[in-house]
């Protein structure tokens, strides 16, 4: 019932503050309803995969888009991350490993029979980043 555009390799900015705003391996970029008409670049970008989840609704997958919350508004973190959660790609069943690592994207989309509970079982909360030291 939904499809995820998933990042499988880190986007990196050498500035640590900006880097915290970049999506990382396992982050979901967008969640779309199934049957979505993906763009040509979305189907071939080696840093992305499209994970089709016919048993998961858009609403059930929405938590993957949540930003890291601001825990202390009095001293806001400079490195609050764009995503609070990621999918632990390394924890997926072994059959998924080749698909995740295939940068040629021979199979740009793959359908997974996961239930909502199963895909949320691969959800990991990211550790907060330490504020960079300013000299």
């Amino acid at each position: 019932m939904c499809e995820l555009l998933l990042r499988v390799s880190d986007k990196i900015n050498t500035d640590p503050v900006l880097d915290s705003k970049c999506t990382k391996r396992g982050d979901v970029i967008v969640v779309m309803p199934d049957g979505w008409g993906w763009g040509t670049e979305e189907l071939r970008n080696p840093d992305w995969r499209i994970l089709q989840l016919p048993n998961v609704t858009v609403e059930q997958a929405a938590s993957f888009l949540s930003p890291e919350p601001e825990d202390n508004p009095q001293a806001p973190s400079l490195v609050r991350q764009r995503r609070l959660f990621k999918i632990d790609l390394d924890a997926l069943p072994p059959v998924w490993a080749a698909w995740v690592t295939d940068g040629t994207r021979a199979e740009p989309m793959r359908s997974a029979p996961f239930t909502a509970a199963q895909i949320l079982g691969y959800r990991r909360r990211k550790a907060p980043l330490a504020n960079p030291v300013v000299i």
Binding site: L5, R7, K11, I12, N13, T14, D15, V17, L18, D19, S20, K21, C22, T23, I29, V30, M32, W36, G37, W38, G39, T40, E41, E42, N45, P67, R80, R82
Partner: protein, 326 residues
């Protein structure tokens, strides 16, 4: 000379969403010597987009615009179409989710981004601005866009913004008191039409840590021209607010006197000016910021620059009158 990388956004395009296009942007446009340009096709693209984590400067920046022929100002009837957001007229970015912006620019400091020729709307529900830069210091350059919200947030909220807004229609349509445009930094506003179309105790402008220039702007149907912060430098602006600040002149918000808008009824509003308007030929000449109006008509189209986003054209009006008589 930076390389401009053009990518289309929409159906059967390079990217199906603005967010995916943003995520594909290189993390450092400066070292890449690159401009990352997204071109929205002539359709409605829904969803919030966060733009963040990208190194830019004044010449290597992010640009969100329309594909060839896809803008409302490319529409063959641009001079006769009502001046308001209308998906039928060209590319439009929108959403109707609570607590979200159409464009969220809040998390990256010093972001250089240009947005032009687009319509951006919040269709319902959200209490957030259409474009939000609060908490960051972007150089947002916004030109020839239509921005409207029926949500309860400001239409555009800026904070520490070093860019400028020019030739835009900015409309707030919610009954909840709010602000149409939040100002800050040194960012100027040139030849814009800014209206609280619902007319419910909404201030037209707010904020501003310094005194940015507000020039050739129409500021109508609000409770006050501005609330809070320092006083901007107003130059040749029009408003219906009584006792306006220096640089603003009071004129009626009407379709038959004063500003002579085409239609001021919320929902069917049309903020083109018509013959007799006090905005015609009374603006300050400014080829830098307002060489073309929101319909891409070259200014001036008469003895001088008109005030607001729309430049009245007597020739076009005469041609239309003649056409209507046939």
């Amino acid at each position: 000379m930076p390389t401009t990388t053009q990518k289309t956004i929409g159906t059967s395009a390079d990217y199906s969403s603005v967010q995916a296009w943003e995520d594909a942007c290189p993390a450092n446009l400066v070292t890449n010597d690159e401009i990352w340009q997204g071109r929205v096709k002539n359709e409605t693209v829904s969803g919030q987009t966060i733009v963040a984590g990208i190194t830019t400067d004044a010449t290597r920046y992010i640009e969100l615009t329309t594909d060839t022929g896809a803008s409302f100002l490319d529409n063959v009837n641009v001079r006769t179409n009502a001046l308001r957001a209308n998906a039928s007229n060209g590319a439009l970015l929108t959403h109707n989710l609570a607590y979200e912006n159409v464009l969220d620019l809040t998390t990256t400091a010093n972001l250089n981004i240009r947005i032009n020729k687009l319509q951006l709307t919040i269709a319902s529900g959200s209490n957030r601005p259409v474009i939000n830069t609060i908490g960051s210091t972007p150089a947002l350059i916004l030109d020839r866009c239509i921005l409207e919200t029926v949500g309860s947030g400001a239409t555009v909220a800026r904070d520490g913004d070093n860019g400028k807004i020019s030739n835009c229609l900015i409309v707030h349509r919610n009954a909840t008191p709010a602000v149409v445009l939040t100002l800050s930094g040194a960012a100027g506003v040139y030849n814009c039409t800014i209206v609280a179309a619902n007319g419910t105790a909404t201030n037209l402008l707010s904020g501003a840590s310094t005194g940015p220039p507000i020039q050739n702007c129409n500021l109508f149907n609000g409770t006050a021209v501005k609330t809070g912060g320092n006083t901007p430098t107003y130059t040749t602006c029009l408003t219906d607010v009584a006792s306006p600040p220096t640089g603003c002149t009071t004129t009626a918000y009407s379709t038959s006197s004063g500003i002579y808008f085409e239609n001021i009824t919320d929902g069917t509003h049309d903020f083109r000016i018509k013959s007799g308007s006090s905005a015609i030929d009374t603006g300050t000449t400014d080829a830098t910021n307002a060489a073309n109006d929101i319909s891409n008509l070259a200014r001036p189209s008469g003895a001088g620059y008109d005030i607001g986003a729309w430049e009245f054209s007597a020739a076009a009006g005469a041609a239309l009158w003649a056409q209507s008589c046939l």
